[in-house]
């Protein structure tokens, strides 16, 4: 507790109960969707139909714990911890390249095993980068026109992380990190000319990087014409599409979808929303989409209510990170954008994503408590 900056103890303020309710709703719906989409595959794989459900539940509790801590810590502490966290993320990402520590899953080197849990450091990068950017933008608030002082350092950090994640063969997360950083740069008030310059470099570069791996080109082709290779690259896209069409308006009923029974690979991770669409129909899709939008609205309101720049940038960045992931994933499932490896927050199985998402929400809750009351920083 660094009393120097705290005018009034934050503990006395009430948390944003509506926001908390939305979180619980999403987590609950996610739990149901995970069970329904995974029980068949889990039974086949391990003989225990609750395998993924239990794992997801355990990860939810872990994430919940993290969220609680994040919501109770003082914002100042979080800000002070940022450099440590950033360095730690950097270290972990680098560790995945060390043979024997990094684990290769499905052709991508982005995980390693810790206490029997697979951990994906690039998820942590999402959080630490947002913390870092919020902090540096708040600090250099009045010097945003100075390219070398305010723009270049964070840009280098972001590009370095994105580059490392790209080298892990995780193109979509790299793009996602760049996108969220880009939005934060934009909102922080960087001059538009820099965006045009950066765009003219980044766009051709990303196209080159995109086309240098066969599986990415396959994904693009399968996005443009899924029928070109219906049992290969286009398979997931077509399967997800059929699942949604089968769902219709009311859905086949919870647990009664058939696409997850082998027809749809990754039914419980990246394509869990397709199972949800098949089983709960358009009504269910609209419901979840509405909850996510409410989440975003509430998140941005928290941001708008923040009186200091750091909290404002942080709340904005965290909300943006969660909502863009959600929209991306939902768009992928419907075939609106090419298949990527972006998980659906709260729904997709995968420990690192859940823990990080919940931690982000914990910080948002934290900010919501302090937002309605002015918090004088730095005199």
């Amino acid at each position: 507790m660094s009393g120097r900056f705290v005018v009034e103890p934050t503990e006395k303020r009430k948390s944003d109960l509506l926001f908390l309710g939305l979180l619980l709703l999403l987590a609950g719906a996610g739990l149901v969707a995970v069970f329904s989409s995974s029980y068949y595959y889990a039974e086949k794989l391990t003989g225990d139909s609750g395998y993924f459900f239990k794992k997801h539940l355990w990860q939810l509790s872990l994430g919940g714990g993290c969220a609680y801590i994040a919501s109770r810590l003082s914002v100042e502490i979080i800000r002070k911890l940022t450099p440590v966290l950033l360095f730690f993320s950097f270290l972990l990402v680098c560790l995945t390249f060390v043979p024997g520590i990094g684990t290769q899953l499905q052709g991508a080197k982005r995980w390693f095993i810790i206490f029997g849990q697979s951990f994906q450091p690039s998820e942590l990068v999402k959080l630490s980068l947002i913390l870092y950017l919020a902090s540096i933008f708040a600090k250099k608030e009045d010097r945003m026109g100075d390219f070398f002082n305010a723009v270049l350092p964070p840009l280098l950090v972001v590009v370095a992380f994105a580059g490392l994640i790209y080298l892990q063969n995780d193109f979509s997360t790299a793009v996602f990190v760049l996108l969220v950083a880009f939005i934060m740069f934009f909102v922080a008030g960087i001059r538009l000319i820099y965006f045009i310059l950066a765009g003219s470099v980044a766009l051709p570069l990303s196209i080159i990087l995109l086309l240098t791996k066969e599986h990415r080109v396959q994904r693009i082709i399968s996005f443009l014409n899924p029928q070109a290779d219906p049992i290969g690259a286009g398979y997931q896209v077509i399967s997800a599409r059929t699942a949604l069409i089968r769902g219709g308006i009311w859905g086949t009923g919870l647990g009664l979808g058939t696409k997850k029974m082998g027809g749809l690979p990754d039914a419980h991770s990246d394509f869990v929303f397709a199972v949800l669409g098949e089983e709960t129909g358009f009504i269910g899709v609209i419901f979840i989409l509405t909850v996510f939008i409410a989440f975003a609205v509430r998140g941005y309101l928290i941001a708008a209510g923040c009186t200091d720049r750091y909290s404002y940038y942080l709340a904005f960045g965290l909300t943006t990170a969660v909502i863009t992931q959600a929209l991306f994933n939902i768009a992928v499932v419907s075939g609106l954008v090419p298949a990527t490896g972006i998980p659906l927050p709260f729904f997709s199985t995968g420990g690192s994503s859940i823990v990080v998402t919940l931690s982000m929400c914990g910080i948002l809750l934290n900010l919501s408590r302090s937002s309605s009351k002015p918090l004088e920083v730095g005199g």
Binding site: E141, I249, G262, Y300
Partner: protein
């Protein structure tokens, strides 16, 4: 002020996110509410029926047949072991491999595709007995080649999904196998491909080719037969060949369409093109003469080029008749290399023909600038140049078409599934290579080669004037870097009848190993044998025979329909089928015994017809 600006940027972000939400919403509405739920049912997927390939007379060479495939839908399977135990003996595959298939990840799997009719019946019985829960039979189209080996290289092969892999099946894949459109049709039919081949001539040609390969222990034999007047290939034979129905049983090399893809040195057959070229550009005339003292000598080349004999004084006709290498070489001295090269290009050497065979060879004709002093005289008798068999026979059309090289054809016409003619190939002159006089003169020179003393005398056909040229080429051995002493290419090109050419035959016997290697000894007799059959088949008139033609149809005068008047007609000679209408007449009781045609009737013809009359008919 600063605060305000940032909120406006926040607004931009929110608007973009809002647009994204609306797009996603619209996508879900169109998918989940507006798309009819039909694509789930595989039976609704249109089936593509690949179009047939037929010969010029409509005889089927390749067609689709329906066969069953055994499929598994795993969620319905109760016991993998039981399924495997039931299916293994029926399908003739080990139980373990069925178990392997069933233990794979996906829910749907093919256990065996395109099983035989009898396998189908047994599997269907097991399914009906409810012993194979989760196992289904799915109809699939399969490509069948009813003539088996016939024209296998031309036709090519398809894969298990009926996509063309080789031959015309590959070249015309998109025409034979149309894209599935959302027209709602249950079956999409492909176009029909009519070839210029004549199944009968193709059969005769392949038979002769196979005999020649066995007799001369050759590595391979190619024989092409072309319609001299329009460039239609009537037969394209190449042995060894394969059966496209079971192409996996044959070595890959057997599937090579050698007449199109193999390039080889044509040898002395090529003299007809070089002499024609030299005559055409005026380097020599039919009166020019050269002295063959057993070799060609030239101060520019250190080693003289040997001739196979000492032919003395020879003119153009003698060079063709006796196949004199030195004479051809000396004749080539009369023109400059670029002029000679350009003439050979006009015949089409050095570039692939317009035939739609995949992987056709260009042959090898070096540009004149790359020729050595030895090149021109050597090319003049057909070495130091590579050609494909289709190039040679195509070039020969210049002799039979007043000097025009014709476009060669293998496809006669393309007909839509509804029977509309989409495309038809017509005679198409490509290049005016020779004057009509030169073309004519060459045929007459080639005719002397089939007469007494000529190298192609064994190519003669009884009563038909034949123009021919034989060749025996050395084969370049890439291992030693020089010409092989054992491997030869024996060939013979023949045009008949000389006065009104109808047919060009080109025989190439590669690497005969049974002793004889000369084109005049082993390839010319093949021309003769095949030519005799073709002359008979096509009714080409022979001298000393009265020309006789028949339209090929036999008219059968059928018996008039049976009419029962007042008296019984004579029913003798009527078939059982023709008697059927009698059974419909109520007041006549007809008894038929035996089968065949009526030989006796009771009562006899002329008996008045009364109601209830009993008619007894005996058939034999």
């Amino acid at each position: 002020m600063e605060e305000k600006k940032n909120f406006s940027r926040l607004g931009v972000v929110l608007i973009i996110l809002g647009i994204a939400v609306l797009l996603i919403l619209w996508r879900y509405i169109s998918l989940m509410l507006l798309t009819p739920n039909e694509i789930e049912n595989p039976a609704r997927q249109p089936v593509v029926e690949r179009g047939p390939i037929l010969d010029r007379n409509g005889r089927i060479l390749a067609i689709q047949t329906e066969l069953d495939s055994v499929t598994a839908w795993k969620p319905e399977i109760e016991s993998n072991e039981e399924i495997a135990a039931q299916l293994a003996p029926v399908l003739g595959i080990p139980e373990q491999s069925i178990l392997d298939i069933l233990s794979r990840q996906s829910s749907f799997a093919y256990i065996k595709r395109k099983i035989t009719q009898s396998e189908s019946i047994q599997v269907r019985r097991l399914i009906n007995d409810d012993k194979l829960k989760g196992i289904n039979l799915q109809r699939e189209f399969d490509r069948t080649y009813p003539e088996e080996h016939l024209a296998s290289h031309v036709l090519g092969i398809v894969d298990v999904d009926n996509r063309g892999l080789e031959g015309l099946e590959l070249s015309y894949d998109s025409l034979l196998r149309p894209e599935i459109t959302d027209s709602g049709a249950e079956i999409v039919y492909g176009n029909q491909l009519f070839l210029t081949l004549d199944v009968n001539i193709q059969y005769l040609t392949e038979t002769v080719a196979r005999e020649a390969m066995e007799e001369h222990e050759a590595d391979s034999v190619m024989i092409l037969v072309m319609d001299a007047q329009n460039g239609d290939l009537l037969a394209v034979a190449s042995v060894p060949d394969f059966n496209p129905n079971v192409y996996g049983n044959f070595p890959v090399a057997y599937r090579q369409n050698r007449p199109a893809v193999a390039a080889y040195e044509p040898g002395s057959v090529f003299k007809i093109f070089s002499i024609a070229a030299l005559l055409e550009v005026g380097g020599i005339s039919s009166y020019s003469s050269f002295v063959c003292g057993g070799s060609y000598e030239n101060p520019d080349i250190p080693v003289p080029i040997k001739c196979l004999g000492v032919h003395g004084q020879v003119n153009a006709a003698d060079i063709i008749k006796y196949s004199c290498n030195a004479g051809a070489a000396y004749a080539s001295d009369s023109v400059e290399a670029p002029v000679f090269h350009d003439m050979l290009v006009r015949f089409g050497f050095g570039t692939e023909t317009a035939l739609p065979f995949p992987g056709e060879s260009n042959g090898l004709l070096k540009p004149a600038s790359g020729w050595s002093a030895r090149s021109k005289p050597t090319i003049a008798f057909g070495q130091e140049i590579s050609t494909s068999a289709v190039q040679v026979i195509t070039a020969a059309t210049a002799f039979t078409n007043d000097g025009y090289v014709l476009e060669p054809h293998i496809v006669k016409k393309i007909v839509s599934p509804a029977g509309d003619l989409l495309e038809e190939t017509m005679r198409k002159p490509l290049v005016d290579a020779l004057s009509p006089e030169t073309a004519r003169a060459m045929l007459l020179m080639m005719e002397t080669a089939t007469q007494t003393g000529g190298t192609a005398r064994r190519a003669a056909i009884e009563g038909v004037r034949v123009s021919a040229k034989t060749g025996t080429a050395q084969v370049f051995d890439p291992v030693t870097g020089s010409y092989s002493t054992q491997d030869f290419t024996a060939s013979c090109l023949a045009v008949f009848p000389t006065d009104a050419p109808e047919i060009i035959i080109y025989v190439v016997i590669e690497h005969p190993k049974a002793g004889e290697t000369y084109g005049g000894r082993i390839a010319a007799p093949v021309v003769s044998t095949l030519g005799e059959s073709i002359v008979d088949y096509l009714n080409i008139p022979r001298s000393g025979e009265t020309a006789f033609s028949h339209d090929g149809t036999v008219r059968i005068h059928g018996l008039p329909p049976i009419v029962l008047g007042d008296a019984l007609p004579d029913l003798t000679g009527y078939s059982k089928r023709q008697l059927l209408p009698l059974l419909d007449i109520d007041d006549v009781k007809v008894t038929i015994s035996g089968s065949g045609w009526v030989v006796r009737q009771e009562p006899a013809a002329g008996t008045p017809v009364r109601p209830g009359i009993k008619l007894l008919l005996e058939l034999e």
